[in-house]
């Protein structure tokens, strides 16, 4: 039994298809759903956490169906939404105790101490949250989520708005939880973080999975080197053996090649011949950004849907 299983999971907001026949299974790993704003990440998480009813398809968490066994699903998961919601007039301990009581955790006081200790908040536990930094507030939310020892943890953009050090710390905590056997489902639009810290990533675009695998596997689908060129003027795809086009982002075009050093001059010549001016070229190893560019191309935020329906959707689901 996989911790998270979805089959043809679909959600429409009026005419806008936010998630389109998503089939996925996640088990005992850190899984990142990667994608730009508006690609359907949050909608997927809302359906998996029983906060939104799927239009079509099915999903289960720890073997419990999200539509029919909502309460069992909610018992086995914890969800930390994107917007940091902690009561600033309460202390750290009170905030965590509140969740422990709602979950009905036995020996609540001890569990609260433990969760605070895991998140390294013990020495500040009795201070009001208004004195906490952004990173501490995020860790406090994790402590709230951990207090009932869930099997599956959903984190929606866990590092958004945090500085580099705080981000790293959050990810170290997430890795530690994973080692204890928890399944962690993260959404993010930071490719570098997914690359560095996640076991497996799914790139989602327009509600569909465009690429799925470990970061290493995905990068290996490209050749060994990536060449990025800044070009001006007419751009035509150069036809050179051993050079594959990855994608274009404004005036930057990317290619992937087996041997970058040798391909550089060939590519420069070919681009010049096709009629454009090459301003600069760089050679580097592939990153998830390149995988993303190849998988989905340049992404735009969804548009062309009816505003009234969007309003109704917002009303239903904040």
């Amino acid at each position: 039994m996989n911790a998270i299983e979805t089959t043809d999971l679909t959600r429409y907001y009026g005419v806008l298809c936010a998630v389109n026949h998503l089939t996925l299974s996640v088990n005992n790993e850190i899984f990142a759903l990667l994608g730009p704003n508006g690609s359907g990440k949050t909608t997927t998480v809302l359906m998996l956490t029983t906060l939104l009813t799927p239009t079509e398809g099915s999903a289960s968490v720890c073997g419990h169906d999200v539509m029919r066994e909502g309460e069992m699903v909610r018992k086995s998961l914890s969800y930390v939404p994107q917007d940091m919601a902690v009561d600033i007039k309460l202390t750290g301990r009170e905030n965590v105790r509140f969740f422990a009581d709602l979950y009905g955790v036995p020996h609540a006081a001890d569990r609260v101490d433990e969760a605070l200790a895991v998140m390294e908040l013990s020495d500040r536990a009795d201070d009001l949250i208004r004195t906490y930094s952004g990173g501490m507030r995020r860790r406090l939310e994790l402590a709230q989520a951990l207090v009932h020892e869930p099997s599956v943890l959903f984190l929606d953009e866990p590092t958004i708005g945090l500085d580099v050090a705080a981000r790293k710390r959050i990810w170290e905590h997430i890795r530690a939880l994973r080692k204890k056997g928890m399944t962690i489902f993260v959404t993010t639009h930071y490719m570098d973080e997914a690359d560095q810290f996640c076991d497996r990533v799914g790139i989602i675009s327009r509600g569909q999975i465009a690429a799925l695998g470990t970061p290493a596997e995905l990068k290996a689908r490209l050749m060994k080197d990536v060449i990025t060129a800044k070009v001006e003027g007419m751009f035509a795809l150069p036809d050179v053996d051993g050079i594959a086009f990855v994608g274009r982002n404004d005036d930057e075009v990317s290619f992937t090649v087996e041997n970058g050093r040798e391909a550089l001059p060939l590519l420069a010549d070919a681009l010049k011949k096709s009629g454009c001016i090459v301003r600069s070229m760089s050679l580097r190893e592939p990153t998830l950004d390149d995988v993303f560019l190849q998988a989905v191309g340049r992404q735009e935020e969804p548009h062309g849907f009816e505003f009234d329906k969007f309003r109704i959707m917002l009303r239903r689901r904040k």
Binding site: E71, R74, L77, P81, L102, R315
Partner: protein, 241 residues
């Protein structure tokens, strides 16, 4: 059940730590009681303070309820509601606890106003009369906090809700039987006052203070509260599916 208590505990803790809000909510009804109740020269009764006290108690409950309506909306806007909805705790306890908290907070405020009224010369009643008064105030509190919560959930925007709150609180108060009996009102005002739900609560409390048992107003309040609770549950389900 334990969920309701836990949610209420959170709200009471937060409320108790905002000292300005606790005190400022009492200033207006206290001012009405002292500056109008003691000072207004009226002919229809010898003890205007005793007449106006039920009106001020209900008014305290009204403003407590209306200001509390924004609480659930804020929980929604700030993302707390999503966290609560993902908990195994029954979802209805979120709504029930909020209504009970707003009503409970209103009852604490009305108690303070009642003490002030007694200190400045209102007549002391029997325990049974106070019990009945509290029952009516509780019923009215549930009615008004359900109403306010529903409107706020529906409007889903703090500015609109604040405007709505300002728009209805004063007219509701002035068109009720809080300040004068129906007999001295102009006919048009008396007609409006008879339809105002505030009047039912005020008349009921006033009836209790002179030793009666206001069966009809209590039944009307019960029916209104029941109907509003049904509507509120429906709106809450709609925003949380």
């Amino acid at each position: 059940m334990s969920g309701i208590v836990t949610y209420m505990k959170r709200d009471f803790l937060k409320w108790g730590r905002g000292k300005v809000a606790v005190i400022s909510a009492l200033v207006m009804p206290a001012a009405w009681l002292i500056f109008v109740g003691l000072a207004l020269p009226v002919q229809f009764t010898g003890n205007y303070l005793d007449f106006i006290t039920p009106g001020i108690l209900v008014m305290t409950m009204l403003s407590a309820g209306l200001s509390g309506g924004a609480l659930l909306m804020f929980d929604k806007i700030l993302g707390f509601l999503n966290k609560f909805l993902a908990l195994p705790t029954p979802r209805s306890s979120i709504l029930v606890s909020k209504i009970l908290f707003i009503t409970g907070r209103g009852l604490i405020q009305t108690t303070i106003i009642l003490v002030i009224a007694l200190l400045i010369g209102a007549t002391l009643l029997s325990p049974l009369q106070y019990g009945l008064t509290y029952f009516i105030l509780f019923l009215f509190g549930v009615l008004i906090s359900t109403f306010a919560t529903t409107i706020a959930l529906y409007l889903e925007d703090h500015d609109s809700y604040a405007a709505f709150n300002t728009m209805i609180s004063m007219p509701l108060f002035f068109t009720s039987s809080a300040l004068m009996p129906y007999s001295v009102m102009p006919a048009w005002l008396a007609t409006i006052a008879h339809f105002n739900p505030l009047s039912y609560a005020i008349d009921a409390v006033r009836d209790v203070t002179v030793g009666g048992f206001p069966a009809v107003p209590i039944i009307v309040l019960l029916v209104l509260t029941g109907g509003l609770l049904a509507i509120c549950t429906h709106v809450f389900r709609k925003v949380t599916v």
